[in-house]
């Protein structure tokens, strides 16, 4: 398992790293418990709605730092709408790929950028606070990477059912008991959903 030269370059010499004074928007995703956390700061041109400046801080491994670096490079100078289209797959591609167990790092970086943009839009009346629904859960599940192959669990059709009743979330996952990644995936799902105040209880079922 090896990193590409691009990952190493962005890890050793990251672009746009450091805390920003007086940002227009910011977001922090991840947690020290998972071993990775990213903060993204945005300066946005109010007239043109473009990202004038962007920076990040990262607590995490080499790929965490590299993916945060590349995501800021991809977003810098873009309009908010263009930046909203940036996904973890774009970050992966720009870095010439990542080892499968490290793909979740690119998701975290892309996710933090999207949350920062969303925070800006909500604060500036450009959009409403979205309602929490089954779709919100599904969007979050698309950010959970199955570490064995480096693809998200929704694309891999591992999510059999998603239910939401009065804050109780029910998820049926198609993962066998002998799958060494089952605990990792379940833990990550919980972490992604627990940040929503609407979620009261999460039940994850396996065959």
């Amino acid at each position: 398992m090896q990193y590409s030269q691009k990952v190493l370059d962005h890890f050793m010499h990251p672009k746009n790293v450091g805390k920003m004074e007086n940002p227009d928007a910011t977001a922090t995703e991840g947690s020290p418990a998972c071993g990775d956390q990213v903060t993204v700061y945005l300066k946005v041109d109010e007239e043109k709605h473009t990202i004038e400046d962007i920076s990040f801080l990262s607590y995490g491994c080499a790929s965490n730092i590299a993916t945060a670096s590349i995501i800021t490079e991809l977003a810098k100078g873009k309009s908010l709408d263009e930046a909203k289209a940036i996904t973890w797959r774009d970050a992966m591609e720009a870095l010439d790929g990542l080892p499968p167990v490290k793909v979740h790092c690119s998701v975290l970086a892309a996710d933090t950028l999207q949350t920062a943009i969303s925070n800006y839009e909500i604060a500036h009346g450009l959009k409403e606070v979205p309602n929490f629904s089954k779709d919100t859960i599904l969007e979050e599940l698309k950010k959970i990477i199955y570490p064995k192959v480096g693809e998200d669990i929704v694309s891999l059709k591992m999510v059999k059912y998603v239910g939401l009743t009065d804050g109780d979330v029910l998820i049926d996952l198609n993962m066998m008991s002998f799958d060494q990644w089952r605990d990792n995936v379940a833990e990550e799902i919980r972490e992604h959903l627990e940040k929503y105040p609407e979620v009261k209880n999460i039940q994850i079922n396996f065959p």
Binding site: M12, P14, A62, I65
Partner: protein, 396 residues
């Protein structure tokens, strides 16, 4: 003598000593024979193996008749644990191990559970010492096996082996005692009779011997169920072929290590004390994992560097030509925080930011100076990038 790289991951494997390579050569080139009877080639190998066996056995206070050469620590552990369970364990019998033990022991414990044995897992304290009160109360009438790791493979904690022996001997029936001495062999004195162990595993490549060779000590009179069935060459328990050259290398490594045992362990202790004092002087907000002083093995220093993650640190040191190890989940195959540190009550950040330096007879003061200087720079750089550090250190 010294390759360009600074290698401080000697608890995983060590550089084979040049003397070891020399000692192995004749058994590859000339005396490539197998043991046998009545003919000179076979008898020569018989004698050689006996000689090498005596050398290795003497280092742990025994003789060659109580030693089985095998492929390494893991096979030795399996031969002992499964062998004792077969010989002395009744279905539903009880085994005791601790949560901080080496994976060989824990995976074997899990296997025994699946076979119908019951296993008690002792907890450990904040420095990695197993809980002896729990050991006392865990012993039942059907407990037949206690196993532990003499020196912890993560934090270097030396378990209180004399106290353990006393507790096991105070039981009203025989409890067999298996000791994994992989990290302890060559680092702390190990006398099988003083320790009171029934079986003990040791390995060559942790003491500058070749990879792929180790040994199991089996106390005379102790039965072991056979794990590997096959042709008998010199050993009734460990059947099949032997690699004579590796055994020769093992014996040479033992000669080198134990020829000046007091001086070489004192050298390691001095260097690791120096490493710790330099780390504490150069890098703010780090803490030592495991005990300070004589209760930790002389070659191990494990520290947690707050606010930053170990895989990133390891990668940066690697680029600078320095090999160290980390307990970070991000660097592990299973993306899990180090189980020993977590069992010691450390939090995730402390585990992810843990760095393990293990020294050898080839480590120099200059290696340590260079490593600490590099690590100080890397820690500063990564902390400047870290949201956890920035959140708590506003004015810098």
């Amino acid at each position: 003598m010294k390759p360009g790289r600074i290698y401080l991951d000697n608890c995983i494997t060590t550089r084979p000593a040049p003397e070891v390579l020399e000692a192995m050569k004749p058994y590859f080139e000339e005396q490539y024979w197998y043991p046998g009877n009545f003919i000179s080639t076979g008898e020569a190998i018989n004698d050689a193996i006996l000689g090498f066996g005596s050398t290795v056995a003497k280092a742990i206070g025994t003789n060659a008749s109580e030693l089985h050469f095998c492929s390494g620590g893991t096979l030795a552990n399996n031969m002992a644990i499964k062998g004792l369970a077969t010989a002395y364990g009744k279905a539903g019998g009880h085994v005791i191990v601790s949560v901080v033990d080496y994976p060989d022991l824990l995976t074997n414990a899990a296997y025994l559970e699946k076979q119908g044995f019951e296993v008690s897992y002792l907890s450990a304290d904040g420095e990695g010492f197993i809980n002896l009160q729990e050991l006392k109360s865990a012993i039942r009438h059907d407990t037949f096996l206690f196993m532990t790791t003499a020196v912890n493979h993560v934090v270097g904690t030396i378990q209180p082996l004399a106290e353990i022996k006393a507790i096991l001997e105070a039981a009203d029936h025989k409890i067999y005692f298996h000791l994994d001495a992989g990290q302890a062999f060559g680092k702390i004195p190990l006398d099988v009779n003083a320790l009171g162990v029934d079986t003990m595993s040791i390995s060559a490549h942790k003491i500058h011997g070749p990879q792929g060779i180790g040994a199991l000590y089996q106390r005379s009179g102790i039965k072991l169920g056979q794990l590997i069935h096959g042709v008998k060459r010199v050993d009734n328990l460990q059947t099949g072929g032997l690699n004579i050259a590796l055994i020769a290398g093992f014996a040479k490594a033992v000669e080198l290590t134990f020829g000046d045992f007091a001086a070489s362990t004192a050298h390691l202790r001095e260097l690791s004390d120096y490493l710790l004092s330099r780390l504490e002087a150069e890098i703010p907000e780090i803490e030592l994992n495991g005990p300070r002083g004589d209760k930790r093995a002389p070659h191990n220093i494990n520290v947690s560097i707050d606010y930053i993650e170990g895989e990133a640190i390891t990668m940066m040191l690697d680029v600078l030509g320095i090999t160290v190890a980390t307990g970070s989940a991000c660097a592990s195959q299973g993306l899990k925080a180090n189980y020993v540190l977590m069992a010691m009550g450390k939090n995730h950040v402390q585990s992810h930011g843990s760095m393990k330096f293990t020294l050898s007879r080839y480590t120099t003061k200059e290696d340590i100076d260079e490593t600490v200087a590099a690590l100080a720079g890397i820690s500063k750089e990564l902390r400047e990038r870290s949201p956890l550090y920035n959140a708590t250190h506003k004015e810098r």
